[in-house]
Symmetry: C2
Subunit: 356 residues, 2 copies
């Protein structure tokens, strides 16, 4: 079976096993507390229903009323500040759900907004994350030079340490601030920061939902929004450093397989390293991960300034006026337009192209 399929199947098995383990642990941790809690809550409920002699129908109405009133009691959710907060939770996929659209227009717009916004947010955070890693590597290099290290390059381990420290610091500082503003315990604030920055966003604890903070505490609103956006950039830096390479693994392998298959089909020799041609000149260069196809390396001795359109027509080649073009092992007669396209695709394919 193909390596990419085996990898995907292994990942599916791992993830399902991980879900099964998770389910068992959560069951063990929460199940008993849930039963105790529910007993206590329903006891108090019965007590109040009896005290005021509330009819079951009225109690149902009261339930709906209280559940629907929750976001309203936390303050105006859809003025500009609240709407900005909501738009942020959509674009980042945090989706607390502390306040959700009630109109059909709001729901429809949310869907269209997310369709463009989520990819935009994803690309922006990854872009910032990569810049942060670059900045860290520059700082590390300078620090190493100043401290007189012999090896001044920033290693991946260095960067992982920096990004882990930055993430921990962001959560620690954020948690301290939220704990102070919201009156949560420090542990609960850490939990809130973590659930927010992983974009899980349960919504069991949501900042800016006390004392009408969205309308009355602009400085706290700004802090909370900056925390979310900055924190997500730090998380993106970690993902860029630790996860992105695994995300693109199948695509890379697929491209490599395609290039190898093309080479094999054309009977070309794949050489890794530098070689000498029959006439003693040197073909220098390493066949890198891009699998640039080296045609006819060992046999080509004749050449002409090719005037046919098999290589000429592609302006992307960017050949200077003094550079001649070879008649390759793939001669113009042999090379159909389709094969030509295939060769060009393998040779010139951008590295971020998705394998098709």
């Amino acid at each position: 079976m193909k390596k990419q399929n085996i990898r995907t199947l292994s990942l599916i098995v791992c993830t399902f096993t991980y879900l099964l383990i998770g389910a068992s642990v959560f069951d063990a941790l929460e199940s008993q507390t849930e039963n105790r809690r529910w007993t206590t809550l329903s006891d108090i409920e019965k007590m109040i229903m009896n005290k005021y002699n509330i009819s079951p129908d009225d109690f149902k109405l009261l339930e709906t009323l209280i559940l629907k009133s929750e976001p309203h009691k936390a303050g105006q959710q859809w003025k500009f500040a609240g709407s900005f907060y909501y738009a942020t939770t959509v674009l980042t996929t945090i989706g607390y759900g502390h306040s959700t659209p009630n109109t059909i227009g709001g729901k429809l717009f949310t869907m269209f907004y997310a369709m463009v916004g989520i990819p935009l947010g994803l690309v922006m955070f990854q872009s910032i994350g990569e810049r942060l890693n670059k900045l860290s590597s520059v700082v590390i290099r300078k620090a190493k030079r100043l401290s007189g290290c012999t090896e001044i390059e920033a290693t991946e381990i260095n960067l992982i340490c920096v990004v882990t420290t930055l993430s921990s610091l962001t959560i620690a500082v954020g948690a301290a601030a939220f704990s102070r503003y919201e009156g949560w315990t420090y542990f609960d604030s850490v939990y809130y920061c973590f659930i927010t920055l992983t974009t899980i966003g349960f919504g069991d604890m949501v900042a800016l939902q006390k004392d009408n903070a969205l309308d009355t505490k602009p400085e706290y609103v700004i802090f909370a929004l900056i925390f979310i956006l900055f924190g997500l950039a730090i998380v993106a830096a970690s993902l860029n450093l630790l996860v992105l390479r695994f995300v693109t693994m199948n695509t890379e392998d697929e491209r490599r397989d395609e290039a190898e298959a093309l080479q094999a089909a054309q009977g070309a020799v794949r050489l890794e390293g530098d070689v000498i041609t029959a006439d003693g000149s040197i073909l220098s260069g390493q066949l890198g991960e891009n699998n640039a196809v080296y045609h006819n390396i060992s046999t080509t001795t004749s050449m002409c300034t090719c005037t046919c359109n098999c290589f000429r027509r592609d302006s992307d080649l960017q050949l200077g006026p003094t550079v001649s073009m070879p008649v390759d092992s793939l001669s113009c007669d042999q090379l159909s337009m389709e094969e030509y396209e295939q060769v060009m695709e393998v040779l010139m394919v951008p590295r971020t192209r998705v394998s098709i």
Copy 2:
């Protein structure tokens, strides 16, 4: 300013503009309804408080009681099925928040679980998404061949059409099923499917929260979980096709810049295309995206089977016994171990490596 920085800044400006526009539209769409809704809700609340003469303190207690009881009334959330559902919402970052851990152990385990689970889920879904795209391209090619097309390759446009159709179908079929099981309107079900598959997961509408479904309707539980996991794989296929290349843009540019800087520093000539050496032999090959460095192409005529350890010591070169190694423009005396490492890094860097 560097291209990567300009790109990142442009993305930040775009995203903030998009957030501001979103905030204005949401404000316009929801603000008035919110006010009307709040007036109605508080009127009914006052009415019930007066009818039963409930004291403000008892009403507050009732509020807390009803809010805390909500997940319990929807059925047992932390038996195995419910815990599996919860673990799925953590791993996928949907995070409905329909039920959240109440114990410190549960919260702590959620954090550790997410730290491993989210990257695992991300890699798995992207891996499946890439395989789905590959499968689509094979099916498209076969369909084109059968229908007698001259161009049988699956283009990116073809794939985008397939993935869009599949996503729409998944949402349409899912919405029909949820509408039937949950009693939601079809529009609301579409909204639920969309909010779920984008992993926003507000939690305003959550499947499996009616009639104790988690414990009493195993077939519906299985359907809902399969819908989420399959749907997310389809979404991952779209992201793999449309977004992944933009996510890795900065990293690719950074790698290209590094290679160019190294070439420039060593006074090497970067040639794109095929060239003739002074003695008439041909250096065939395209300088691809990997920026394989071609050293001293136009001048090297002498060579030796180098015995120094400047190129030898790296076993990764995988040179066959008959392949000799050149004395490059970077002669062994000129090349320090550090420079050597740099050259090797640029030449052999895996394509998924994160630029540091």
